[in-house]
């Protein structure tokens, strides 16, 4: 059933026909297009803002969770370090006390080797003077004088110990350790420094600063979203 002559004629005439639309037709179409164009960008902006805010919240919560985990591990490490450090300090104290006590008990000043000579020299000079002073005196008094000298030496040595600065004291302790072949539990050095504790202190400060920064950005974004919502409602 192909189109016949009549149908071909109908087709040609109708295809050629044009009917002009009314004057208001374009205005109506223009209004429809304007409305649809206005709707699209607003909703997209709103969606983008909401999506970014949600993403930021998610990132912040994840970060805070991680921080909580690290804080708990750091606290545990701190406790161990704190528990360990005093023990080490106690050990150090006892070791030092022992070292200090050594010359008192044995009468042999080992620690003060470099200074001992000076001390001895001092002492000898001190000793000599009383000896010189005491020579014309009775020999019976030599023993008490010797005792006195020894006590003086010990007193002086103790004073010397007290007056020695910490750096020298540390060196002296190390040398004593080497001589005695007695191991102090100090591995890191004469001055006990707990690196973990130091790190944790610094990290704590850092975390606080970063945390405050994150909180500031969160509040800033929240305010931005709030203002945009208000503006949108006003429009």
């Amino acid at each position: 059933m192909e189109p016949n002559k009549l149908e071909k004629e109908i087709r040609e005439k109708l295809n050629k026909r044009e009917i002009g639309p009314g004057e208001m037709a374009w205005d109506r179409l223009d209004a429809m297009l304007t409305v649809s164009e206005k709707k699209k960008p607003k909703s997209r902006v709103w969606l983008y803002i909401a999506a970014s805010f949600l993403g930021l919240l998610l990132a912040v919560t994840l970060f805070l969770k991680q921080e909580a985990r690290t804080d708990s591990t750091i606290i545990n490490e701190d406790e161990n370090a704190v528990v360990a450090a005093p023990q080490n300090k106690n050990e150090q104290k006892t070791a030092i006390e022992n070292e200090i006590a050594l010359p008192v008990t044995t009468g042999h000043v080992r620690i003060h080797k470099p200074a001992s000579n000076n001390a001895v020299a001092v002492q000898t000079s001190n000793i000599q003077q009383p000896e010189n002073n005491k020579q014309p005196e009775n020999a019976g008094t030599i023993k008490p004088t010797v005792q006195k000298q020894v006590t003086n030496m010990l007193a002086v040595s103790e004073q010397e110990i007290a007056n020695i600065p910490p750096e020298q004291e540390a060196e002296i302790l190390l040398m004593a350790k080497m001589d005695n072949n007695e191991g102090l539990s100090i591995k890191t050095g004469p001055v006990k420094v707990n690196p973990n504790a130091l790190l944790n202190e610094v990290e704590g400060e850092l975390n606080d600063n970063f945390r405050s920064k994150v909180w500031q950005t969160v509040t800033k974004n929240y305010n931005a979203v709030k203002s945009s919502v208000v503006n949108r409602n006003i429009e």
């Binding site: 059933m1 016949n4 002559k5 009549l6 109908i10 026909r17 639309p21 374009w26 179409l29 649809s36």
Partner: protein
């Protein structure tokens, strides 16, 4: 060169219209709206209603301009949107349904000629029931095959052929009446 220039100009206008350039959109509307309203009028008897449907169809044209792939003619693309809009209105709003009738009569249109004006032709088509009119317009004026018409209207190919046959029969009767009237035999 002129053809290429015109084609490039149309491409540029289409691109601008897709970017919501109102001036470009109005150019397209001014160029194509008279013919498109004529197409809508083929399907819709009421001119004002046909204009409303045309405006709705143009809105869809401009909001979906990015979907035009420049494979066929731009006018053909707009025309297809107009026809779909008209069919959608008739099927949804007016709830036109088709009788599943696959019987058709051999038509005797072949030797009939007509020297009627386009208005008369339109009035003849308006006299057809909506179902007959849709199939007649799609087959005769738009040049769709029955298979394509069946898909567009959601009917069988046999029903499409039957509808066309009935439309032709009614038109023939109408034309014969008119001819007899004009000749003064009635």
């Amino acid at each position: 060169m002129k053809v290429i220039t015109l084609h490039q100009e149309e491409k540029d206008i289409i691109r601008q219209a897709a970017e919501n350039n109102r001036h470009a959109q109005q150019k397209i509307y001014s160029k194509h709206s008279p013919r498109m309203l004529s197409i809508c009028r083929q399907y819709i008897k009421d001119l004002q209603l046909a204009e409303d449907i045309m405006i709705t169809a143009f809105f869809k044209v401009f909001t979906n301009l990015n979907n035009f792939e420049h494979k066929g003619s731009f006018e053909g693309w707009i025309r297809r949107i107009m026809i779909n809009e008209c069919i959608s209105y008739l099927r949804v709003q007016k709830k036109v349904s088709f009788m599943e009738d696959e019987s058709y009569i051999e038509d005797t249109f072949n030797n009939v000629e007509s020297h009627f004006s386009v208005d008369v032709i339109q009035s003849l088509i308006d006299s057809l029931p909506d179902g007959y009119k849709m199939v007649f317009n799609l087959y005769v004026i738009e040049g769709y095959k029955h298979q394509e018409i069946a898909i567009m209207l959601g009917i069988t190919e046999g029903t499409s052929k039957s509808q066309l046959s009935h439309a032709r029969k009614v038109l023939q009767e109408q034309i014969t009446k008119l001819k007899n009237y004009s000749n003064g035999t009635e």
